[in-house]
């Protein structure tokens, strides 16, 4: 793999990160509301993505940890959800 290809892909990656952040104007109210609605579904989608590897579900411990995290989502606290995931993982270690 050539150095130039790595530099090109690095430029592509950085460009995708900086493009909207640098060049996008402050959005109007309509697009802004749309953007405000997007993070939660995006992260939920990324969570779902990380539960699959090549079309199959990941190991049971990760699934139980995720279930533990999901139980505590009504708290809307990142720390509480992380603790729920940790508790789920420990439970899976003990039971499975």
């Amino acid at each position: 793999m050539s150095v130039w290809l790595i530099v090109g892909i690095a430029a592509l990656t950085y460009g995708s990160r900086a493009l909207a952040l640098v060049f996008m104007r402050e959005p109007r109210e309509g697009p802004r509301k749309l953007l405000d609605r997007m993070p939660a579904p995006l992260f939920a989608g990324l969570a779902a993505t990380s539960l699959f590897q090549d079309g199959t579900l990941v190991d049971e411990r990760t699934l139980v940890a995720t279930a533990g995290a999901l139980v505590l989502t009504p708290t809307r606290s990142l720390l509480a959800v992380l603790l729920g995931g940790f508790a789920g993982y420990v439970l899976a270690l003990l039971v499975l």
Binding site: A10, L12, A18, D36, A40, F43, T73
Partner: protein, 211 residues
């Protein structure tokens, strides 16, 4: 600052573990120089692991660029979302863009502190973790015992971030629908994993809230 570092530690630890795995996997395929350069310059686990897999399977430069483009689509969405929260000059925003990873953006959105600062502090921590992990992987370190636990960090973290940035039950419902759509797509068409989350997030966010 202290709260940001504390919140960033679990993903930083997982990123370190995956950095070690990346270093050990990439070395025989890319060589030492290209492995180090890729981590220093690309700083994206999903892109870098995909590159190694494609190089291993003999894919050409076109396929590498196409896959990297697809995987980076979500950065456009994250950048647009963060734009409304990062009130800095253009050059400063260009610098902050370096640290715009999924995890750093999520922590910035979930935090009540200044988003730009959270992006830089958390993103900087992730960058250092990734580099140290890659270097140790190149040197032959093994973290197989930790791989499974590290894998569990990401879905749990993303669930937590989704919950923390959710402003209403309506958006929570949209998030649940997006997760179901992405799970279905990932199961039915594994190749969609690079972009399914972005498309689902856009689709479920389009309808306006009922008044």
């Amino acid at each position: 600052m202290r709260r940001t570092v504390l919140a960033a530690l679990p993903p930083a630890a997982a990123i370190f573990v995956f950095g070690v795995i990346y270093g050990s996997l990439a070395r025989p395929e890319l060589g030492v120089t290209a492995t180090v350069l890729s981590s220093l310059l690309i700083f994206s686990g999903s892109v870098q692991f995909t590159l190694v897999a494609l190089v291993t399977s003999g894919a050409g430069a076109g396929a590498l660029v196409l896959n990297a483009t697809t995987l980076n689509l979500r950065n456009l969405v994250l950048g647009a979302v963060m734009r409304t929260r990062v009130d800095r000059s253009s050059p400063a925003r260009a610098g902050i863009g370096w640290f715009l990873t999924d995890e750093a953006a999520g922590l910035a959105l979930a935090s009540e502190e200044d988003s730009a600062r959270v992006l830089v502090v958390a993103g900087g921590l992730f960058y250092v973790s990734w580099q140290i992990g890659t270097a140790l992987g190149l040197l032959g370190a093994s973290v197989e015992a930790l791989q499974e636990a590290a894998s569990a960090v990401f879905p749990v973290l993303f669930v937590g971030l989704s919950a923390a940035v959710c402003p209403s039950w309506s958006v929570g419902l949209r998030a649940a629908v997006a997760a179901v759509l992405v799970a279905g797509a990932s199961w039915w068409w594994p190749g969609s994993q690079g972009f399914a989350a972005v498309i689902a997030a856009v689709l479920v966010s389009l309808p306006d809230d009922a008044r």
